[in-house]
Symmetry: C2
Subunit: 760 residues, 2 copies
């Protein structure tokens, strides 16, 4: 009883698709995949392997290899992405320093590496080792003075322009898809959209190279988003080695989801955060199996990166911090304030950036991408050099802002007035009065904050690889550090105030400004991306600060609330909308009262639906229908009168089947009848040879009843990943709803511009 | 165009359900909920509030309150669950110590609290403060000697028996649902099953009290699973305060998912791990919104618990460890070995425990739950007392096993032979030769391991609250510590071996036995529960050891692989199957080639489907049909000849509607015609008054075509949470598939006993 379906079920469709007819079963560019079909194709493949594996030892081994190929792909992705990340880090280090000077012993050493071999052991002198020469020292033999400053300034800008020009040219010429952060497109691809070449080898190569260039050029951007793109390219590369993944767009997306986790894992050295990021932010279909594999791949990548050890500190994480004092309840108030700041920054950034990007798309501005990059780089370099906090690389800045001031710290930020009688241990220094250095630093940081806020808006979205995490973290860290120092000085000078009295005795170390920087960073990143759990996990993996979950979470949640009050979209969703990608967001809730019949095509007054009949249309009729319409497929009904649905035929497969039949099958001519039935009737002697097409008929198209609420329909499209869905009433076919229709309807309901959604 | 559906769509059904007719819209006990319907009811409610909120300020505020009620519920759950967990911890501490002695100053102090005020400051003496009296000291004034030992031994057993007897009696008399870990049932409930009273107030109260009793009695069980149950009871309690949650079974489950995260969060002090546990292991429908809220609730709970500070160390986590040395590549080999051990233990435990529980269900054994508990407690206490590692509470044991030996450590496990010339700092002690204490400890630990393994199999599943995490962790930690000490001594004595030469110079601290214990614990817990990501996160939150992700992950993945090779089911799934709950696991893959037509009822040869017609059946016909069948609902068709589907009527609502009509509507008699059409035809003068029932008709029942592969159908049931689905062919209704049919079919396909699935 159970086997009756084997003979004539959808399985035949699958068999047909597995035949080596070129291009059958694949999708066209900028089209949406059918998740259900991909899934059932994979089950079929799996079933075949399982049954074959019982036949011989060899097949059994092949079956085992197939089962393990998922883990192998993960291992390979982890290794390659980890290696690439290490190489990028080393290259960025070297090229960033190249803007200021060069190592005489070995020009390929960065400043730090150059001075490793130096004998000077104190912290300050180590940076001034003789092997490392600033450009002014090398060229005019002066390290101080106006002319040296101007020469260094000039060369700094020139190097930055050179790097940026190279980057934008490479992107323009070789791989236009290598620009941007890539996360909006990857989200769209993972939701089932096809963009050919977006994850190709060229994109991988060019994105890696240009990423090094743009980060080194000192532009206000980070390498985190692009890392995800690079890792996804690796994922795509390796998945094409295994037919299990290369031939199935659904399975391929499982690999890509894991690769996205790998990208974040290597960008920050945060494997768990990476997996959660992929789960919360990027992925669409994320089964538990993928969760485990992602975690494995993320670990391999993090481990590979640690073996390369680009930060020279054996730490997995990017910004390792260690704080020595706990936080106090009263500090929640400034933390929440930072959350509010983060939310406002997120809103401001998204609005301004989207407005600017829209202008770029619609005006002449978009026609001069190279010039735009050059101008922005010139402005960035010009304004960044004079301020020590913007001159250096953003990662170094963040690292300094996050750190607590130890006794040996030589940074300007730690220029406190020490009590000469202090005999405390090194790592437990009480709050002290700020010195002039700290005040100076505060002013410079305030300027850096304004500069970063404005320039980032114009930088993100240019035709170069650009990530948003590092600039957002920098903005938050600067704001947080300023607030932190403020609270610290307030507590030092007014420790008799009622709020300070309980937790801040004189001579105690009660406020850690570095923690404020961390909290501010979380808030700003949260405001822009609207991540919560993955954000907190990344932050605490980044810093190793497990005790500080509550402050981080308070800031992240506040920031999300504030930003959500102004607009629900995070920056990635906003860019998806701007670009009109057909992305059906899981987070949007559809709460309108419309029904399937309101959305389906044809609308009232439109010509009726183009259908095929099961046994009365000729080849010519069908060819005309295909020529006249551009639908992806046609429902097949019993007859035009009864309109009872029997299946669905894909346009692509119909074309291929007719073409093949005309070439290979004798007697199939223009007036041959197409039969979708199981047993075509006996033929008259002189009638042309019929064309039997039941094998390409999908016998189980998805149907809903016309009264189904759109809410349910949206849910079905989301959860099952449909391309289209047929609408019936009392068994009669009424119309069709495609993913495009759903998206258009959702946009309409949200009072948005319906045109922006139309991409496919 | 968009609004046409408002008049006659499913909205009317909803309006009807919102009427204060008692019991309409609720479900019966041991029935499955319809997720789609719950969701659409919630959207309706939401829509109503949104439109009302524009009417007046008061309604606007009410709308805001409604929107925030989700966060309020989370806050309340966090506070209550955190408080309960704190109280449980304190009570367990006190009662565990009560088995050995009493505090003379204040009998409600535990041993540690009693000695806090003591003047003895050295570590060893602190445990022997004069205020704390062992029973033998108090009763026969002897602290040493045979008679003292026997008296203490006897009282230890008596107290254990008293606690266990109290616990099992309370469970038997007041709340039979309070037994077990509760996680299998909570998984089932979250998947949409109704078990009334399982999360009720009585269960909450009794489970909390008995949990304290059984943990104190020294049985081999933990409080983690029951904590989840307790937290879910809190969740259920608070969700009944808000109509948004109390009246919607779907929304209620969102709260319960978050509560499950809270349970783990307070059990271990691991908020992130808790959220991931809920996501990976427990929850069924886990939208991102729930992710954020869970995290918030978990943090509130962890924070509340920290404020109560039951461990007296201001730490959030249960077993805080700090290791001072990194791990080396070569150590991966013993770690993977521990993973294999964990997998084998998991398999052994699951098989034996399930076999024993099945025996309990099917033989006379199940009739004497009190006796069973008493016997197991007696055996446990009898065997546990002589061994110092089993006498104390399991948490203390684990804590000691996880810890690295510092210089001041007085534990027997740290009885190494010190080099008298050692002048190293306190926390960086080289590997040393083991003393007699360590060898003694190894033997005792080996015995403890065997004892724990065997007794846990018989303990889990008795009629008392019993968690599995702590015993599993204990087994793993013991095995790990033994292996760790072995490797350490091997490295000490053979540091010239090639594998040790690179990383273990004499005088270096290269092996940390505590880390092995941690890895072993992760492996064993993974083998039993098959968690991976959440497990690793819990372990590293538990211990604060961020650097040890790779060893933990290696062990967890190995353990999962090994255990999966023997059987795919974790302990919770195994118990779900054993109890026959209707649980559709997301993890199971259905890969058979059957079609919807193979599974639907009626089967070939069975009488045809019971249907209603839209305009030709009388009230009496329907009443007879309802009496003769026990189906949950009936499809409504145009006529028996055409069999075209127009909707679906729930049995429950049909009964209520007819009852109401008979009572209230004049002229409705037994031979009144039931109309499901929009406009009943004009009546003849003498015909009875018709009964219009379109409002209870679900106009959008879910349908699939008979050729749909069962794989897709299973997917639809899982992802959309359906109760039933109608099967059509060319527009004609053929049959129906219920969740029960799907489960039965899956069991059949997996060659399992089909009877065990039948519960509903």
């Amino acid at each position: 009883m159970v086997n009756t379906g084997d003979i004539n079920g959808s399985s035949n469709l699958m068999d047909f698709l597995d035949e080596p007819v070129p291009d059958v079963g694949t999708y066209e560019d900028f089209h949406t995949i059918d998740w259900l079909r991909e899934k059932s194709r994979d089950t079929d493949r799996h079933r075949k392997i399982t049954s074959k594996s019982k036949e011989s030892i060899w097949e059994f081994i092949k079956g085992l290899l197939d089962a393990w190929s998922g883990w192998v792909v993960m291992l390979l992705i982890g290794l390659l992405a980890g290696t690439l990340a290490g190489v990028i880090d080393l290259a960025v280090d070297w090229m960033t320093d190249l803007k200021e000077g060069i190592c005489l012993n070995a020009f390929w050493y960065s400043h730090e590496q150059c001075c490793w071999t130096s004998d000077e052991t104190t912290f300050e002198d180590r940076d001034k080792c003789p092997q490392w020469q600033k450009w002014s020292e090398l060229m005019i033999d002066q390290s101080e003075g106006a002319s040296a400053y101007i020469l260094n300034y000039f060369l700094y800008i020139m190097w930055a322009l050179l790097f940026a020009f190279l980057a934008v040219s490479l992107v323009r010429v070789f791989a236009p898809y290598a620009c941007g952060s890539g996360i909006p497109e990857i989200k769209t691809i993972l939701s089932g959209f096809i963009i050919r070449g977006y994850l190709g080898k060229w994109t991988l190569l060019i994105k890696t190279v240009t990423l090094v260039l743009v980060v080194s050029s000192g532009l206000s951007l980070g390498k985190e988003g692009p890392s995800v793109h690079v890792a996804c390219c690796c994922g795509n590369l390796f998945s094409s080695l295994f037919s299990k993944y290369s031939k199935n767009e659904g399975k391929r997306r499982e690999v890509l989801s894991a690769a996205a986790a790998v990208g974040v894992s290597v960008a920050f050295g945060a494997p768990i955060g990476g997996v959660l990021f992929s789960l919360e932010e990027v992925s669409y279909y994320f089964p538990l199996k993928t969760l485990w594999r992602s975690f494995f791949a993320a670990l391999v990548a993090a481990f590979t990166l640690r073996s390369i050890n680009p930060f020279g500190n054996s730490r997995l994480v990017l910004f390792y911090v260690e704080y020595h004092t706990p936080w106090y309840m009263a500090e929640l108030f400034p933390f929440i304030l930072l959350g509010v700041f983060g939310g406002l920054w997120g809103t401001l950034f998204i609005r301004c950036n989207i407005a600017w990007c829209r202008r770029r798309k619609t005006t002449k501005l978009g026609k001069y991408p190279v010039l735009e990059v050059i101008v922005v780089t010139a402005i960035t370099a010009l304004l960044a050099y004079p301020n020590p906090y913007t001159r250096r690389s953003t990662s170094e800045l963040i690292s300094e802002l996050f750190n607590d001031c130890g006794a040996l710290e030589s940074s300007q930020l730690c220029d406190y007035i020490n009590d000469p009688n202090m005999t405390r241990p090194v790592d437990d220094i009480p709050d002290r009065q700020a010195g002039t250095g700290v005040y100076m630093a505060m002013w410079q940081l305030a300027l850096a904050l304004i500069f970063k806020i404005i320039i980032t808006i114009f930088t993100f979205g240019m035709k170069i690889p650009s990530g948003l995490f590092i600039p957002s973290i920098a903005v938050g860290a600067i704001a947080g550090r300023i607030v932190g120092v403020g609270v610290e000085q307030l507590a030092y000078h007014h420790h008799d105030w009622i709020i300070f009295r309980n937790w801040c005795r004189p001579g105690a170390d009660c406020v850690t400004p570095g923690l404020y920087a961390m909290v501010g960073a979380a808030a700003c990143l949260g405001g822009v991306t609207r991540m919560t759990v993955s954000l907190v996990v990344i932050m605490f993996e980044l810093t190793g600060g497990l005790e500080y979950i509550v402050p981080l979470m308070a800031a992240a949640v506040t920031s999300k609330w504030v930003a959500d009050a102004f607009g629900k979209e995070g920056i990635y969703e906003a860019h998806i909308h701007l670009n009109g990608y057909p992305f059906l967001d899981v987070k949007d809730e559809f709460t309108h009262r419309t029904l399937a019949m309101d959305v389906m095509r044809p609308r009232r007054g439109e010509p009726s639906l183009s259908v095929l009949t099961q046994d009365s249309m000729t080849v010519e009729d069908v060819e005309t229908l295909i020529k006249d319409t551009d639908y992806n497929g046609f429902p097949v009904v019993v007859s035009r009168d009864s309109e009872r649905l029997i299946g669905f035929a894909q346009r692509r497969e119909l074309i291929i089947a007719i073409k093949n039949a005309r070439q290979r099958q004798d007697g199939v001519v223009s007036n041959s009848i197409l039969y979708f039935t199981e047993d075509p009737p006996e033929l008259l002697a002189n009638s042309p040879h019929p064309l039997k097409l039941r094998r390409i008929l999908n016998l189980s198209p998805f149907t809903v009843i016309d009264h189904t609420p759109m809410e349910t329909v949206v849910d079905i499209f989301r959860k099952l990943g449909l391309r289209q869905c047929l609408v019936t009433r009392s068994g009669r076919l009424l119309g069709i709803i495609t993913k495009k229709d759903v998206l258009r309807h959702m946009a309409q309901m949200a009072n948005q511009d319906p045109e922006s959604i139309m991409f496919n």
